[in-house]
């Protein structure tokens, strides 16, 4: 659609057409009622019997059903016209606002959307020294308004076209067809349930006009923000509302805690010695939890304020320990996408800051890998705290229930990334740290993940014995664990794994038995004392027997140090995410 067409569009005409259809719909309904009363009912009471009467009654009943179906279809046309009026009016309003701003900034908009302005500082029409940036912003708004009108046009055209075809070929007289059309129209006004296939969600979203989408974001932000299959920019908008509401709610809870109770109970009060006041203990626990979540929100807000590269809030809630999904760069438009799944301690809290920082560093690292290769591809890294991660090493991180409970969520999220991506994702990676590798490994094993690569950093076990059990090409399975990482102590807990580890340990000490030969993931022939090792959630991912590509590490690095600047693991992560060979 061009500027003139949208600017000149007479929305009133669409509304008049809609009203005309309403009148037609009402008149048609009255005709059906009259026909029912004057023809069907009278015939029914006429005591006309016999073969011909039987045929006639059957045909009349059938006709009655057809007329009801036709009435239903007419009503849907009226609704489509109402949505068209609303959608085109919103687009027109956005266009006029942008054109007005161009005029106020002394700029001229050509019919094709190009902006010109006086650049002479001495001219009375000088547009100012920030004119170029202003023009760019206005130009984007004009393009967005035209796209909005186009999308509305296409959406309504598809709906009207379908109904027109039904009317032309007679399928609109079929009760089942009319019912299905009514159900589809009703579904447009309802957000699909959580867990709906992301491709169906995307199809539903595409069927809404831009105005309807905005209405959904404003009124159903809690559902829209959390639904896989909704495009990133829309989820972001919805979650900004959720973020503000969550923040206000936390503050209300903090304000409602009341004054701090006294910390200790006296000897007289306890009849035994000074002990901590249980009221204080409960009050402090609650306050610390709320403050922790506030810190998580502050980390999100701080990152969202940074515009280069931009961040998108793809998920947010304060339930339990809280959840947040933050993408650096738009995952729907970036060439390469990576989902970072952190482990123990991940939540909407203090830990979120470093989890977001890691995504920023991985994007920078992938950008560098691309630049070195002369590749202009872009990358988005998503910090995915969309699951309930264990919050303590003991006892929670020893329990694989957290990983199992995350499987459906992670699986759906990855499907959603593909559903909303504009075109195909060039290279899709899931990269996890610590317990996050258990979550990812379990999900890949049990559900499969549509990813090209998986990177397992400092894994206590991924629930599988071999890289190939993760369901993707094992040559795209990467693992890293530095010698100094304390995760190495998270030894096997199952009797079989423990027995194997003890056997290997003594074999190594005594230098006997367990000698093996084989070929590692790089195709190199290897041999020696069996280094196979089982950890608490499965075989160690960095032993040759697991079959992963091993990424370089700083041998002195500890469990958090893989993203530090003195770590060679970070550039290697960037190369995997960018789809480049490891240097």
């Amino acid at each position: 659609m061009d500027i003139k067409t949208l600017y000149d569009a007479n929305i009133n005409n669409i509304t008049i057409a809609k009203n005309a259809y309403d009148a037609l719909y009402s008149a048609f309904g009255q005709h059906i009622e009259s026909w029912q009363h004057d023809v069907v009912d009278r015939l029914g009471h006429s005591e006309w019997t016999g073969t011909a009467a039987g045929h006639a009654n059957t045909r009349i009943q059938f006709l009655s059903t057809e007329l009801q179906a036709a009435k239903q279809e007419l009503g849907l046309i009226s609704k489509a016209l109402a949505d068209a009026a609303e959608g085109i009016a919103a687009a027109q309003s956005h266009l006029i606002s942008a054109l007005d701003d161009a005029k106020n900034n002394k700029m001229t908009v050509s019919p094709d959307g190009g902006l010109t302005w006086d650049k002479d500082p001495n001219s009375p029409n000088y547009a100012g020294d920030k004119a170029e940036a202003t023009a760019k912003e206005i130009s984007k708004r004009i393009t967005a308004a035209l796209n909005e009108a186009d999308h509305t046009d296409q959406t309504i055209n598809a709906r009207l076209g379908h109904l027109a075809t039904n009317a032309t070929n007679g399928t609109g007289l079929d009760a089942a067809t009319a019912k299905a059309d009514q159900t589809a129209a009703d579904a447009l006004s309802q957000v699909p349930a959580a867990g709906t296939d992301p491709n169906s969600v995307k199809a539903w979203w595409n069927g809404l006009t831009d105005a309807q989408q905005q209405h959904m974001i404003q009124t159903e932000h809690d559902k829209v923000g959390a639904l896989d299959g909704i495009p990133a920019t829309a989820r972001h908008q919805a979650n900004l509302i959720n973020l503000q509401q969550g923040k206000a709610d936390l503050q209300r809870q903090l304000d409602g805690l009341g004054p701090e109770p006294k910390k200790m109970l006296s000897v007289a009060e306890t009849n035994g010695g000074p002990v901590e006041n249980p009221d204080y203990t409960a009050w402090k626990k609650k306050r610390d939890e709320l403050e922790d979540k506030k810190h998580g929100i502050e980390s999100i807000e701080s990152r969202l304020q940074k515009k280069d590269p931009p961040a998108f809030l793809l998920g947010f809630d304060t339930n339990g320990h809280g959840h947040a999904i933050i993408a650096v760069n738009n995952p729907d438009t970036a060439n390469n996408v990576s989902t970072y799944v952190p482990g123990t301690g991940a939540r909407l809290g203090d830990s979120l800051r470093s989890d977001i920082e890691r995504s920023d560093l991985m994007v920078a690292s992938a950008d560098k890998a691309n630049q070195k290769a002369g590749d202009p591809s872009t990358t988005s890294s998503i910090t995915w705290v969309g699951y309930d991660a264990p919050q303590s090493i003991i006892p929670e991180a020893a329990d694989d229930t957290y990983a199992k409970n995350a499987e459906d969520k992670l699986h759906s999220f990855e499907l959603g990334l593909h559903a909303t991506h504009e075109g195909k994702i060039d290279n899709n990676t899931v990269l996890a740290h610590s317990y996050g590798t258990t979550t990812v490994g379990y999900t890949m094993r049990d559900k499969g993940l549509p990813v090209d690569n998986v990177v397992l950093i400092a894994s206590p076990g991924a629930g599988v014995e071999h890289a190939r059990d993760l369901g993707i090409d094992p040559s795209h399975v990467y693992a890293a664990q530095s010698d100094g990482d304390s995760i190495g102590w998270a030894d096997a807990a199952d009797p079989k794994g423990m027995a194997k580890n003890i056997r290997d340990y003594y074999a190594e000490i005594w230098g006997v038995g367990n000698y093996y030969t084989g070929v590692d993931a790089n195709g190199v022939h290897v041999g020696g004392v069996d280094t196979d090792n089982h950890m608490i959630h499965g075989r160690q991912t960095t032993v040759p027997e697991f079959g992963a590509h091993i990424l370089p590490t700083n041998p002195k690095g500890d469990h958090s140090d893989y993203w530090n600047d003195n770590s060679p693991t970070l550039p290697a992560m960037g190369e995997v995410i960018a789809g480049k060979p490891i240097s």
Partner: protein, 175 residues
Amino acid sequence: MSTAAPASLIRRVTATTMVLAAVLTLNGCGAGTLGERSKPTITLDQAKKQIDTYLTDVLAALPVKPAKSPGDFSDLECDANDIGPHGRTQSRREYDFGDVPPVPKAEAVKAFREYLTGRGFAPDPDAAGSRSDWIRLKNPKDDFLATLDGVSDSSHDLSLRVSSPCVWPDGTPPK
């Protein structure tokens, strides 16, 4: 009742025991590390100033000029998943030179080494041999790290980065 529940219970208890043993060992081994991490440092602002000072000095010594202004400082919380104390931060900043032809790139490598080793920097022993595409020199006196990245002939991008050690934002650990 099936036997699955007791088996699961045994496994969980065993798992917890094993991890408990690991953590106890870790804490025992990590006492020195904890002490080291708890020491006062320069502040984050001072670290950033020092990064810029090093960058300015190295840039002046190089025969190539950056293709654009440096990006913002990039910060990372250190030890986020380790046994605390938490809150130390590492900062880094980078200049990008774009696609530098082989001859000036070789000159830049030479100048980078000569200038920094002259100031007491030495190859980073922790990263020796881990990647062929960068040169990393560390100042043993203050643990700042300078990296010339993309030095191989095949690389279409050369960059200079300086990073700080992990420091307490206010110079001292929280009480």
